[in-house]
């Protein structure tokens, strides 16, 4: 009798089985990176696009960071990649190196007005082997947040000017549960700590590792010592996003080296955060790693021209301003960014300060080498750095192993 009931239930379920996707007429699909909250405005995109190309239906898909990569990989393997994709950091490099992305050069050449919209410093970030593959969607790069109260308690006033000052400031603020310094560690966000000591990751021709130098050894030894003494909170090297931001929001960490979107998370869950308690500054030497979001068109797209129209619409001044003011980010669209800065100066001075620091030192952008195997180099390098700072290997041993592994990836 149990069997009969189960069978009855299942046949009902089978009957109501949704049929496979019916062959829709012309269609383009847009894949965005974890902005479900922006749904209303995205409906605005689609409505505006209806006027330009009524024959095209637009499918919007949103995936979280860790799920977007797998989703795009499997869809590409099946030959049905989404037409327009929003990616973060250097994920696009592998796709470009493997020829999965449409070269936007010809489109930009044809429409100078569109090419002129964007800040050249940021456009450079998305070029590979001389071709422009992406347009900026919203731009972020790393900077230094600091807890002014903890600074006062430790008798400090202005942010550190040199690498050693970062560590000495951090040491002064470390006691009990409190620690002095935290950095994000994914997508090369920690690299400015090495760049300010004159360390180069690879040779200019991107063929060989160039970081195994006395300067790098000195930096790594100091970082390891500071982590061991507790001045650098261990979460800096093991956490990803929620952990470092959570710790800084809890008010127990002196300085946080991360990219700008963290500000809105920290303010959201950190009751202590306001204009006089949260300091914002550039890292010593003004170095910063971009972790911007950009948009590309898949080469396997069946409607490249329609996709380009949609891309132009998203990055237009009107929608760029809407995006910037709604999700509190700058967009790389020069005109729009001016308006967004004005908006924040009027309504949210602290956010304006964050965005201002972010727009400074655009010539000191680092940590974004056009490496065809960026994620493998990143893994090979960071795994060893992590071993060193957590005291599981000596800095020398870690750097030698890292050099061996990175060279193996680069020579492939």
């Amino acid at each position: 009798m149990a069997l009969k009931r189960v069978l009855a239930g299942a046949t009902m379920a089978l009957a109501v089985l949704a049929a496979g996707p019916v062959a829709a007429q012309k269609k383009i699909s847009v894949l965005t990176w974890n902005i479900p909250v922006y749904e209303e405005k995205i409906k605005g995109w689609i409505a505006d696009f209806k006027q330009i190309r009524p024959d095209i239906t637009v499918e919007w898909i949103d995936k979280k960071g860790p799920e977007l990569g797998p989703f795009y990989q499997t869809q590409s393997a099946a030959g049905t990649p989404p037409d327009i994709v929003n990616v973060q950091g250097a994920l696009w490099l592998e796709y470009a190196a493997n020829g999965a992305l449409l070269d936007l050069g010809p489109y930009l050449a044809k429409e100078r007005e569109v090419a002129g919209r964007f800040d050249p410093n940021f456009m450079k970030v998305w070029q590979f082997e001389g071709k422009q593959y992406l347009l900026p969607f919203y731009i972020t790069k790393t900077l230094l947040f600091y807890n002014k109260e903890m600074f006062k308690e430790a008798g400090l006033s202005d942010p550190p000017k040199t690498f050693d000052e970062i560590l000495s400031h951090a040491a002064k603020m470390t006691k009990g549960e409190k620690s002095g310094f935290l950095t994000a560690n994914f997508d090369w966000l920690y690299w400015p700590l090495f760049a300010m000591n004159g360390v180069q990751l690879v040779t200019p021709d991107l063929k060989k590792a160039a970081f195994n130098t006395p300067a790098a050894l000195d930096t790594l030894t100091k970082l390891a010592k500071a982590t061991d003494s507790g001045a650098i909170n261990k979460i800096a090297w093991t956490g990803r996003w929620v952990e470092p931001n959570g710790a800084f929001a809890a008010g127990t960490v002196g300085m946080l080296h991360i990219h700008a979107p963290a500000f809105f998370y920290v303010r959201g869950s950190g009751k202590w955060v306001n204009q006089d308690t949260l300091g914002v500054a550039a890292v010593p030497g003004g170095w910063s790693t971009p972790n911007s979001h950009a948009l590309f068109i898949s080469k396997a797209s069946k409607e490249p021209d329609a996709a380009w129209e949609f891309l132009k619409l998203i990055t237009s001044k009107k929608w760029a301003v809407t995006f910037g003011t709604t999700l509190n980010n700058l967009t790389g669209n020069i005109e729009a960014d001016k308006e967004i800065m004005a908006h924040f100066k009027a309504n949210d001075p602290l956010a304006a300060r964050v965005l201002e620091v972010q727009m400074s030192n655009l010539d000191k952008i680092t940590g974004n080498w056009p490496l065809a195997r960026d994620s493998q180099v990143k893994e090979a390098f960071y795994t060893e750095i992590q071993n060193a700072v957590l005291g599981r290997k000596t800095p020398k041993e870690a750097l030698d192993t890292a050099e061996r592994n990175v060279n193996r990836v680069l020579s492939r």
Partner: protein, 123 residues
């Protein structure tokens, strides 16, 4: 007949009834109506105050409606198809009222705010 009365049919029957009853209640009370009164600390009505209603979504909030209070300080807003509202009040000579959160059981539930929104006089 007895064979069909067992734990399964009773449980799922009750669930079905509860759902039906709930939907009936919802259908009867869903004009998105919000009414209330704005008063000063001493209880006297504040006329002409602007009441702004925002919808609180998972991550942010969007302005949705506005209304003015009448002579008796009462306001009435309709067509609010949301389940979490934020109410702000501004009036001449009074400190602006910080956002009050109004939680509803379903979208568009009619709600009359019992306690008057009391505002302090500007300094």
């Amino acid at each position: 007949m007895r064979r069909w009365i067992n734990r399964y049919s009773i449980t799922f029957g009750l669930i079905g009834l509860a759902v039906l009853g709930w939907n009936l209640y919802v259908a009867a009370h869903r004009d998105g109506l919000l009414t209330g009164r704005v008063a000063a600390a001493d209880g006297s009505a504040i006329a002409g105050a602007t009441v702004k209603v925002r919808e609180r979504t998972m991550v942010s909030s969007e302005p949705r409606a506005e209304a003015k209070t009448d002579a008796q300080g009462r306001f009435r807003v309709e067509g609010l198809d949301y389940h979490h509202l934020l109410v702000e009040v501004e009036a001449q000579g009074f400190k602006p009222l910080p956002r009050q959160s109004v939680r509803l059981w379903f979208r568009g539930q009619n709600r009359a705010l019992e306690a008057p929104l009391t505002m302090e006089r500007a300094g």
